[in-house]
Symmetry: C2
């Protein structure tokens, strides 16, 4: 029997690596999709290549797009990445690291990929708990995207396969995500989450992404195997 195909949005961070492992465990043939989008470092891309190799994905496509053309985020423009904040400081506002329409753009490329390769599922590692400030990480957004996607494509129109946007991490805490990944055999040493790594790709340990990740490992009583500066 032919395997069902899935497109996985893969950044090489903790979350997207975990969903890749999950999709494989569910029996999908995995087609990974990563982006070069003018982020200030290539560490993310290197990590996504390591992860794709580790899991032996069927195909790994890298798309170059230029979100810098629009500016508006600390991750793509020259605005300082916030550091040393706790969750109270992170919550209740839309973070400066939010990239305009990023998930919408990423999902749209995944939709094109799925239409061409016949994938029935798109996996995205969004999370409504740790990143509640991002509008495009909320369940109602994902549901609206899936509805739109099924009106956008040949498959949807011709009444064939219906596309599913899968978000297995949506309601999990960071520690639960890590536990899921460890149970699935993920080696988190090869992943990279930091917003501001050094030239060798080592994490800063103090940006929002590092803070949440370290706290997740701590809650499990484990050390994060990734490389940190200093």
């Amino acid at each position: 029997m032919q395997k069902k195909k899935a497109v996985i949005l893969l950044s090489g961070g903790l979350d997207s690596t975990t969903i890749l492992a999950y999709a494989k465990s569910e029996g999908f043939e995995v087609h990974a999709l990563s982006f070069l989008y003018g982020q200030r470092h290539d560490t993310e891309l290197e990590a996504s290549k390591r992860v794709a190799g580790y899991f032996g994905v069927k195909h790994h496509k890298v798309i170059q797009i230029d979100l810098r053309a629009f500016g508006g985020s600390a991750l793509t423009a020259d605005i300082e990445v916030p550091k040393g904040r706790d969750e109270a400081e992170m919550s209740g506002e839309i973070p400066i690291t939010y990239v305009p329409a990023r998930n919408t753009i990423f999902l749209s490329f995944a939709l094109a990929y799925a239409e061409v390769n016949g994938a029935t599922d798109i996996f995205i590692g969004v999370n409504a708990i740790d990143y509640s400030g991002y509008p495009d990480c909320r369940p109602e957004y994902i549901a609206a995207y899936e509805h739109m996607a099924n009106l956008a494509t040949k498959a949807g129109v011709e009444g064939g396969r219906q596309l599913k946007i899968q978000t297995p991490l949506l309601h999990l805490k960071k520690s639960e995500i890590i536990q899921m990944g460890l149970d699935l055999g993920v080696d988190y040493a090869i992943t990279s989450s930091c917003y501001d790594p050094d030239e060798d790709g080592r994490a800063c340990g103090v940006c929002d992404a590092c803070h949440l990740r370290l706290k997740g490992f701590a809650a499990l009583g484990k050390d994060d195997p990734a490389a940190y500066q200093g």
Copy 2:
């Protein structure tokens, strides 16, 4: 009073040029957005630059993306563009010139642009009559996109401005679109619609896009002022 801003998806063809003229006539400050997306010719981009200059748009951004990475369309891959077909042959199937998820990708970049520059409206020249075969040109698709877009962005989440996807051509015949443009002062000589122009940018006259365009002018008893081969 400050003008309302609009993002216009501008290919430099007949339809998108008409919506640009329409948006200006409605009092919008126009921010045009064009794409280099691996189509087989640059004629489209040259036309979009001419049109943006003609109408003196506020900004014209050109985004390079690579839809060829996915293949699947005569407009981006090495598949022959169909020629000499009448409407009966064009209808009832999804055309080979359909680019996977193209409008979804284009609208997603427009959404990012609108979020950054504060535009309240996105104009797209889709048409449900002449191109009924394209799933992402249908009213229900546009409505679903608008709903998703308002869940995707800061503005939508914070209860501020609601984004509108404007499709003034949706239910017009080609001849009606041309009449609208002529009434708004469009010079169609500077536009380019052809799927397969020659090196000098002259239209082939026989592809689906040329056929519909020429028929539209003929219905008005007018000559198309654009340059044709031979």
